[in-house]
Subunit: 599 residues, 2 copies
């Protein structure tokens, strides 16, 4: 068939928005053929556009030329169709528009299509490589298409919410200065200033603080950020951040403002009522109860400290850990003794080991017997004391980790907790459990760097009560930082900021910055503090992750139109690529591939 | 004075939003001290926040401690103040809130400030370098602050307009493939794939077309773009584009959609009624009448072709140009003979020369005399014929340019037209004259490259009627491209796109691409066309420029929070900067500064 033009025909309606109320109307729709069936004398074709699918119908009453065109339709052909909207004879309940169809009087064949490398249907399993290479086909599938449309709606709701609350969206530069601390920067060589480089922003942190010092008072931005780190399922080299900052506020004001945002998003997109205010939990409590600074509170299985109950017992693993200043903690898996076999406990022990635990101790109490991994080391009364401390009854399984380092105990039990909940279906997938984790440590010791580093960032306000310990006991200094946690994922985080140049320089010094290096890196910010700096703070959401969690997708790739893959490349266009010698010469750089091989 | 904390005090109102209707209310405001006057027993201080200024008042009825704090206030101190809103004794008409003041009962001194390097007032002239280094102070000034706030409002209106019209905002990647054609790319070395580079996007052109092929149908994005070109007053290395694309449309649909946007923006931001539809003018007409493809139609001074009137005359400059295939064109500056001296005409001739004209011929007809630059070359009847052709009467000045190249004639007279209009105040600054310039040439010969290049871009649909001339007479092929012009500035441009792989490859070939290079560069797009491609087109606005024109600013720097300067650097943070050797090593690149020096 020859291709046609639209001529004067124009779409009047979107497929997915038509309802039985419109039956009898003449409408014009446009889109791609999802499938077509020629039943001999009667042809049905599903037309797909960005909103959904509408059935096109042709029969012996149809104009002959139109019918001939309809007979030529194949999947992914692009057409425009005008006709009469009518009720279908047999309703298709699987389709939103399943009660209606378009009885076509005009059909324009706008583009043919070769047979695509895979069928454009959610049900068809396709290899990732193929999906990413032909991303434009993959994005036509309902399951991939809808999240991108919803992402746009979510972004729009966010923007309107902040704008309605006196915020200004202000664009900050993408070509900025490379600064120490934080992740690895992407660099951009400057042509005009040979030997000099821009960095792509990891976040607009310094600029948003400068905006507070410029009197903008309430800033937000939905902004692309960059981190040159190795990829994981929920990490991309470029990602989108909902970034916000406010002046003349304390933590609670920032939290309340953003709880309101979440409440609105969940109501409007998912029709879910989120209760506010969210619970607040100090970091220390989150670790002690859940072994995690982003606890999933949709289920129990909380950690218990049984150190006191086992102190001085006959089991060297326990006592050794305690003597070295560590702890013995456990999870009591209530009523699961029959479901959790010895073999499964062994598997959990393997999980615990990947988090550094030396092993996993257990007591398993079925109605028939009680078995434990430390049978021969504990006297009956010691075991009874441990059982009592952990509240272990018949039918329960107690899993315990002992280590000289509390971090290892927390990490291992925190991971086991999630593992068990997933395996035994203890998580209600319809729950959205939010909380704030607060009072994070300011410093975190980096074994790699051999020094303390800022857990949040160096501009975070330390807790006033802990100021006298900045130099003497940095590990115990708390930050006025908070994370928003949803179902065990950190969806956002932020802090109150330092607005005093003397305190800022003191914190930078504690982080190992010489005066000169602090000046070079952050001098413009500390200078700015000198000319009047309002109290301010803010936070940032990982937008990709937030959308992913809202739409219950497994990977942020599913909510990004053109994501990068493992090697930080993009298979459709084939970037990154080699460039012409001339381009490098203009930038005063040369390839230095030897080094890469030697390393 | 000792610094204080906000405690439980919270802002209830913004300074600039308070009106006499609120007199009698207790309100709390927060911001910076713009100025303060101690009149002995009475203190007035202007408090500035992001919305405006409110006067704070203190007198002998004020609490002693509060009064003492008020006496210590200096410019740029940051405070929070609570009090009773009352009428002022002497109204300040220069101030929006000039009828009211806050009689302060509580004052919190939140931050002191050193004396800033310049006063934070619009009236104070400050050197550009100082303004940019202390951008946070400059941005506190009303004249710099307001445009950034309005820019946010404009962006929000744009987004809501498109979203209300079935558009989706879809984020496209920032780390993409470097492609030939267009301006110079910024490159980003890949660490994971040594020797390979990303480019930062000059526009999301290919991605938005891919989105049309993904069935998204209506896309928009307010998006950062990058061009590594030398800076001009209205160019930045990174700039913001309002980018949009639609399927199942023709030019008129795209134009109508965007006229609606402009109408809404001008109404809501400026309360200006923009008439739609905008006039449409083919490129050839714009050049012939205005000597420009972005004509300023707020004034006349149109070009006239007087070639026929002077053909065969005695003036070699005219006849020579005509014989070489060029033209003689003029502007008749009506009634300006008395104002435009010989000396001023000479200055205009210098302007014409910078555009390649060899000179500027003129006739100046005052009531007393007629003088011309070609007195002795033209017979009286030849001169009369020229005068008649151009409609020159007593009091007029005729300015003519003759050249073998029409481009030179257009460029020179187009520039003179603007120069004269500005100099003699012929432009009504309150007018906003929009038009569409259409039917651009597809190809443009590049002397530098020695070949034809795409004037718009290689994905533009050529005019169907001109298809047979693509190979034989490329210079005459018109593109289905259009620019939106406002007051002589291009604010946006776009085109209908090719959606047929065969035609795309043909146009790439005509642009000098080998089959292999076309495949390498754009293969993923032409491949995508094969699986069903709806007719589509779109456009992009230069957002910075649009905001600049709406707010009548002289430079886009005035509507960008943190602009770059001439050397593509940013003086406040001091980027770009040298980076650590280790960072380059990780990216498998090395500096190659020798080359830069040799060039």
């Amino acid at each position: 068939m020859a291709l046609e033009k639209m001529g004067t025909l124009r779409r009047t309606d979107y497929c997915g928005e038509l309802t039985p109320a419109r039956v009898g109307d003449t409408v014009t729709v446009a889109g791609s053929i999802a499938k077509s069936r020629d039943l001999g004398g009667v042809i049905f074709a599903d037309l797909r556009d960005t909103t959904g699918i509408l059935q096109l119908a042709f029969d012996d009453g149809t104009d002959k030329q139109v019918f001939a065109k309809a007979a030529s339709l194949k999947s992914e052909y692009v057409v425009m169709a005008q006709g009469l909207l009518r009720r279908r004879e047999s309703v298709n309940k699987a389709l939103a528009t399943g009660e209606i169809e378009l009885y076509v009087t005009e059909l324009r064949l706008l583009s043919e299509a070769e047979t695509p490398p895979f069928e454009v249907r959610d049900e068809v399993k396709v290899k990732d490589e193929l999906r990413l290479k032909y991303r434009y086909l993959d994005l036509r599938r309902e399951g991939m298409h809808r999240p991108i449309v919803l992402r746009s709606k979510i972004a729009q709701l966010i923007r309107n919410y902040y704008c309605d609350n006196h915020f200004c969206e202000i664009e900050t530069p993408m070509l900025i200065k490379s600064t120490p601390e934080g992740a690895r920067d992407y660099l951009v060589p400057s042509r005009v200033q040979p030997g000099h480089f821009y960095a792509l922003p990891q976040s607009p942190q310094l600029y948003k603080q400068i905006l507070m010092l410029s009197g903008f008072d309430r800033y937000f931005q939905i902004v692309r950020c960059f981190r040159d780190e190795d990829l994981r399922a929920d990490r991309q080299p470029e990602f989108t951040q909902v970034d916000m900052e406010m002046s003349f506020v304390e933590e609670e004001d920032i939290e309340t403002m953003n709880e309101g945002l979440i409440k609105k998003l969940f109501k409007e997109i998912l029709d879910v009522e989120v209760e506010t205010p969210f619970p607040r939990m100090p970091y220390a409590e989150a670790m002690a109860r859940f072994g995690s600074d982003k606890p999933d509170t949709r289920f129990g299985l909380e950690l218990q400290d049984v150190s006191d109950a086992v102190r001085g017992c006959g089991f060297g693993v326990f006592t050794g850990a305690l003597e070295a200043g560590g702890s013995v903690r456990c999870i009591n898996v209530k009523g699961m003794a029959d479901k959790m076999s010895r073999k499964e406990i062994d598997k959990l022990a393997e999980v615990a080991k990947t988090y550094g635990a030396k092993g996993l101790a257990y007591i398993r109490c079925t109605a028939e017997s009680e078995t434990s991994s430390f049978e021969k080391f504990l006297a009956p009364e010691e075991k009874a004391a441990l059982r009592a401390a952990a509240g272990v009854e018949t039918g329960d399984v107690l899993l315990a980790v002992a280590d000289a380092k509390n971090d290892v105990v927390f990490a291992a039990l925190g991971a086991l907790r999630l593992e068990i909940a997933k395996k035994y279906g203890l998580i209600d997938p319809d729950k959205f459990n939010f909380l704030w984790v607060t009072d994070f440590p300011f410093f975190e010791y980096s074994e790699e760097e051999g020094r303390f580093m800022a857990k949040h960032h160096p501009f975070t306000l330390p807790n006033e009560e802990d100021l006298d310990k900045v130099e003497t006991d940095p590990g115990s200094v708390r930050a006025r930082a908070y994370d928003m946690v949803l179902n065990g994922c950190e969806v956002g985080g932020g802090s109150m900021r330092i607005n005093d140049p003397a305190l800022q320089n003191r914190m930078l010094k504690a982080l190992g910055f010489t005066e000169e290096r602090a000046r070079e890196s952050f001098g413009f910010l500390t200078d700015a503090y000198r000319y009047g700096a309002p109290p301010h703070g803010g936070m940032a959401f990982g937008f990709d992750r937030l959308v992913m969690l809202m739409l219950k997708k497994d990977s942020i790739r599913d909510v990004i139109a053109f994501p990068k893959v493992q090697n930080a490349g993009e298979p459709m266009s084939g970037c990154p690529e080699t460039v012409e010698e001339k381009q490098l010469r203009e930038l005063s750089i040369a390839l230095d591939l030897k080094e890469a091989k030697e390393d």
